[in-house]
């Protein structure tokens, strides 16, 4: 596998650099560098959305989620994603209309403009920063752990993590968002091909589709129903997850930027349909890999299971493609997130464009270093950490939706402050300072409902 890995890895890095250099010249203004010229067609749109959304958490987290918690994981992610794409079509139209009225560079600047308050923009930035850094970190950590598993004793985990961050920084700093988008297309395809090949081989080893379910029923029948053997997929978890996932396109800047930069609404509509199809195609094979794990490695640790199922049980050369596919999945999401934080920083700054771009590029490096530090310190619960990130950024939704749908949002300056308060409460609960449930209701869900009610009532009686 070693020689294949070096060859495939070399081709992969070379392609990333070529895409970055080809797109470099055209990205000198903020609009060019951070928004890729705001002229994205449906095909590129589909792949950049897909590569940004489906990450390490999908490729590594979901098989493990299916293995441990069972088929309810389909409802958790695939059904939620299918609802989300309709939201992209529906709410995306309104966001684009409002963004067209402003000089949109990032969501923080947009919020600042809508509320006529820099403070509101800072709150949007703080929310994105607090919850995206851990999300980026789990991408880096997920792959670094996996590489450690694949090459035990070769180099320590932190070396893998630093390597991933350097690759990501080099090509996104060189080429800007356009480079990231072209690389996303390449990486999205790679992710889809790799995961289907792995799933196909796992399915063959299990003796086919129906035999797979027979074997799972024999080993642990609770995996074949909700809420699953550990009771995770209860009503509140599924509802909270769906709400948080459906809000991602509007609350996570790496996705909302892509909504805004589509060429026109028709292209966005096509992208939404393609993304829904892509979601089902990329999540289904993770079900097969997860069931494979439930049959053959039910009691293994996450990293042991993933190492065996994705690498050691695969024919030699394929293991190399899997590794590169994983690195691609992690990088294509993490770079977009880090870059989006740079865009958010730029959208809050005023001054000469070139100088502001330079400052934002420095900020991108700082965010990458912070993510790296967090990656080395965080836990291995990839999916649950990702879900915390979705739930955290979801708290920005009422504030953002007010900015999109109400022309009087500037009369409700208290909404950003309440949002910041809710973010503080959620962070306190995640740190274990306060409970994660109140009267049996999940705190993230409760906070979101309270903020939404405040926004609706406030808008009505302003």
């Amino acid at each position: 596998m070693g020689k294949t890995l070096i060859f495939v890895g070399g081709v992969y890095v070379l392609l990333l650099i070529i895409f970055s250099l080809v797109t470099r010249e055209k990205t000198k203004s903020s609009k060019g560098y951070f928004l890729a010229g705001s002229n994205l067609g449906a095909v590129l749109g589909l792949f950049t959305f897909a590569a940004t959304l489906f990450s390490t958490f999908t490729l590594l987290g979901m098989p493990d989620f299916f293995r441990v918690h069972g088929i309810g994981a389909w409802i958790f992610l695939a059904v939620s994603d299918a609802v989300m794409v309709f939201g992209i079509l529906w709410i995306g139209y309104h966001l684009r209309k409002r963004a067209a009225d402003t000089n949109y560079i990032g969501m923080s600047g947009f919020i600042s403009h809508a509320y006529k308050s820099r403070w509101a923009g800072y709150v949007a930035f703080i929310g994105a920063f607090l919850f995206l850094i851990p999300y980026v970190a789990i991408q880096i950590r997920g792959v670094a752990i996996f590489l450690l598993q694949a090459f035990p004793g070769f180099v320590p985990m932190w070396v893998w993590a630093v390597g991933i961050v350097i690759i990501m920084l080099v090509y996104s700093e060189i080429g800007g968002l356009k480079a990231i988008i072209y690389n996303d297309m390449f990486q999205g395809l790679l992710l889809l091909i790799v995961i289907w090949i792995v799933a196909g081989i796992c399915l063959e080893k299990m003796g086919g589709f129906t035999q797979m379910f027979e074997s799972v029923e024999e080993s642990n029948s609770a995996l074949l129903a909700v809420p699953g053997p550990k009771g995770l997929f209860d009503f509140q978890f599924l509802l909270g997850s769906m709400v948080a996932i459906c809000l991602i396109p509007f609350t996570q800047p790496q996705v909302s930027t892509r909504l805004v930069i589509m060429k026109d609404h028709r292209s966005l509509a096509r992208t939404a349909v393609g993304l829904g199809t892509f979601a089902l195609l990329v999540i289904f094979p993770t079900l097969l890999i997860g069931m494979y794990g439930a049959i053959y490695y039910p009691d293994d640790s996450t990293s042991d299971f993933l190492g065996k199922a994705l690498i050691w049980d695969q024919p030699g050369p394929l293991g190399a493609f899997v590794l590169i596919g994983l690195v691609a999945a992690a990088i294509s999401t993490a770079d977009s997130q880090i870059f989006a934080l740079g865009g958010e920083t730029r959208s809050l700054m005023e001054g000469e464009d070139k100088k502001m771009i330079r400052n934002a590029r420095i900020a991108i490096v700082v965010f990458a270093i912070l993510s790296l530090i967090f990656a080395l310190l965080s836990s291995d619960q990839l999916v649950l950490l990702a879900r915390s990130s979705f739930a955290g950024t979801a708290l920005l939704a009422p504030m953002i939706f007010l900015a999109i749908f109400s022309k009087q949002s500037h009369n409700m300056q208290w909404i950003p402050s309440c949002t910041l308060g809710a973010i503080g409460i959620l962070v306190a609960s995640q740190l274990g300072v306060i409970p994660t449930e109140i009267l049996g209701i999940r705190l993230d869900l409760l906070l979101l409902v309270v903020l939404a009610v405040m926004a609706v009532v406030g808008n009505k009686f302003k």
Partner: protein, 78 residues
């Protein structure tokens, strides 16, 4: 072809499906039967619901009232 009425129907269908997802019709507790190709109940119904959701999104993408409101001439890809 923009069609506000059909677009409203799409929104209603999505709303109904979302509600159904959280009822025993889609996610009954601890129920495996009836199976389809040995797929447990919540899985095959979940897959069916996902496909319907994407199909409704496709229909929505054809009839959304804002389809022709912001077209530009130059583009990055088709």
């Amino acid at each position: 072809m923009a069609n506000p009425r059909l677009w409203n129907y799409c929104k209603i269908i999505i709303g109904i499906l979302v509600v159904l997802i959280f009822t025993p019709l889609v996610t009954p507790a601890d129920q495996i039967e009836p199976t389809l190709l040995l797929m447990p109940y919540s899985l095959w119904v979940g897959i069916l619901v996902s496909i319907i959701l994407v199909l409704v999104t496709y229909l929505g993408s054809r009839v959304h009232p804002g389809l022709n409101t912001d077209q530009k001439t130059d583009e990055v890809d088709g």
